[in-house]
């Protein structure tokens, strides 16, 4: 039998597993609004796991990053996305192209790769949450897969933002978070990125009458 893990590590592992599960359900979600809600939930779970790490290790700056995560990823960005969906009137958009079971199988393979890659790295780390490095890597790859498989613009942006969630989890689990300056910079980047992409959506729709980004593949109008 294996030795018992400390309770805080168990909690962190639980939250990390929830994040992984949410990454998968985002991959499988066809509708736009539940997708955004899941992204918000992922942000909230990320905030909880950061709080547990902060409480266990007594790293004060992690409280700040947890608060920042909650504010930005669980409240502000979902709100912006909701507003965009309402204003673009794409509330009932359903993506019909992707074959969900196949995507899921590819996702499982990605998770295996991520876990295998992360295992030797996490052995180098001394943090309480080092086990979750594999999950963080898997979340990044699943978000990447989501960006590849989707053809509508908004799910792609959600995938991009979810990737940042995974990176943040990786930073927390491997090294107890990045320096505050870097973290603030990334947070602002993501926020500004989301806003600019929002403006971009309107331009895409004006040009092509839809948010399907396959229209962007053509270089010239015929």
């Amino acid at each position: 039998m294996t030795a018992l893990l400390p309770f805080s590590t168990q909690l962190i592992n639980l939250f990390a597993s929830v994040i992984l599960l949410l990454a998968f359900s985002m991959l499988a979600q066809r509708r736009v609004l539940p997708l955004i809600n899941m992204f918000a939930l992922q942000g909230a779970t990320l905030c909880l796991s950061t709080l547990v790490v902060a409480f266990t290790t007594g790293q004060a700056h992690l409280y700040w990053s947890a608060g920042l995560t909650l504010l930005l990823k669980a409240l502000l960005l979902p709100w912006i996305l909701h507003r965009l969906v309402r204003r673009l009137n794409v509330k009932w958009d359903v993506e019909s192209l992707i074959n969900i079971p196949t995507t899921m199988l590819v996702g499982i393979v990605l998770v295996m790769i991520a876990f295998n890659v992360a295992l030797p790295i996490s052995q180098l780390s001394e943090t309480v949450s080092r086990g979750t490095l594999g999950i963080a890597l898997a979340t990044v790859m699943l978000a990447f897969l989501m960006m590849i498989t989707r053809t509508k613009a908004i799910p792609q942006v959600v995938g991009f933002l979810a990737m940042e969630n995974g990176l943040f989890l990786a930073a927390t689990s491997a090294t107890y978070g990045m320096p505050m300056v870097v973290e603030l910079g990334i947070a602002l980047d993501v926020l500004v990125g989301a806003i600019i992409l929002g403006v971009f959506f309107f331009q895409i729709r004006e040009q092509f009458d839809s948010l399907d980004i396959r229209h962007l593949e053509k270089l010239k109008e015929n």
């Binding site: 039998m1 294996t2 030795a3 018992l4 893990l5 309770f7 168990q10 909690l11 592992n13 639980l14 990390a16 597993s17 929830v18 992984l20 599960l21 998968f24 499988a28 969900i100 079971p101 899921m104 996702g107 499982i108 998770v111 295996m112 876990f115 992360a118 295992l119 052995q123 086990g131 979750t132 594999g134 999950i135």
Partner: protein
């Protein structure tokens, strides 16, 4: 070595399974009727049905072979064996070494093969349709069930069901995310395997949607009674398996007669709550299209594999 108390416990578990299984079906049907604002059938309705069917004559189709006649007995035997192996009351079961968890999945598979063959034996179109659908569901559900079992087997380092339950029941309090994933996956699988609502409707006779009912349309009399009883036993076996794997508290250990008696009200309580939850889930969900079933069971498989992977990554200290 077989002890006297083990023997008594084993016999008791079998009898209790036989008696409780129709009661569980009746209780689920009753809760379902309440949730749907209908007046409920009596709690003992499955017994009345069984009694009625056992008294009636068997009507056989013209083309029916001996396979058609033996299949109900095989199916009933499989389900009885399954509910005897699963530790519902105590973990001291002399029959338990007969089959570990992987063989248990095989026992369920054997019953499935026989019911499908019997359905195709008569040669009606409905029977063939039901059999094909059952095999579709089965081949998707079985890997997910095996993955769930592998997760629990990894935690307890054994595939023997009694050892798994003993380890899980007598551990210190530890949060197992993998066990939570496995539990959700197991719930999905048991909905599909027991022909419950999101996958199949046990009460329907509508041609286009039925799976389980389509296979047993040609059965009558005591054959039908045995199959109905076997279906109840299957639900009971799956419920006990789920309870044993994910809520194993209250199951008696070996050589403990008082524990055995004390385990009965605990089991009844757990089955009662499980029945209410099952009826609730069946009420709030609509039956899905048959072609959505692969997606549903694919999700179950995914969850089970995730549980296994999370177990390997997070919960083993390296």
């Amino acid at each position: 070595m077989i002890s006297i108390s083990g023997l008594i416990g084993q016999l008791f578990a079998i009898v209790l399974g036989l008696v409780l299984a129709p009661l569980l079906s009746g209780w689920v049907g009753m809760c379902r009727a309440w949730f749907q604002n209908r007046s409920a059938p009596p709690l003992f309705q499955p017994y009345y049905t069984l009694h009625k069917l056992f008294r009636k004559d068997v009507v056989l189709a013209h083309g029916a072979s001996s396979l058609f006649r033996t299949a109900p007995f095989v199916i009933f035997g499989c389900m009885l064996a399954a509910s005897a192996i699963i530790p519902s009351l105590s973990t001291d079961l002399p029959l338990a070494p007969a089959a570990d968890t992987i063989a248990l999945v095989g026992v369920f598979g054997l019953a499935r093969i026989f019911i499908s063959l019997a359905a195709m034996d008569v040669g009606t179109s409905f029977g063939t349709l039901g059999a094909r659908r059952e095999m579709l569901i089965g081949f998707l559900a079985e890997p997910a069930l095996l993955m769930v079992i592998f997760t629990t087997a990894l935690i307890s380092q054994s595939t023997s069901l009694t050892t798994i339950v003993e380890t899980l029941a007598h551990r210190d309090f530890v949060i197992y995310p993998s066990l939570a994933f496995a539990g959700i996956a197991f719930t999905f699988v048991s909905f599909a395997e027991n022909a419950r609502v999101p996958v199949d409707n046990p009460a329907t006779h509508l041609e286009l949607t039925m799976i389980h009912e389509a296979m047993i349309l040609e059965y009558s009399g005591r054959h039908l009674a045995l199959i109905e009883w076997a279906a109840s036993l299957k639900l009971y076996a799956y419920s006990c398996l789920g309870l044993a794997l994910f809520f194993p508290w209250g199951v008696a250990g070996s050589d403990n007669f008082i524990g055995l008696v004390a385990a009965i009200p605990v089991l009844l309580l757990k089955l009662g709550i499980g029945g209410v939850l099952l009826a609730g889930i069946e009420t709030v969900n609509a039956k899905m299209r048959i072609f959505r079933a692969p997606e549903f069971l694919g999700t179950a498989f995914l969850l089970a594999v995730l549980g296994l992977l999370v177990r390997l990554l997070l919960e083993t200290r390296v």
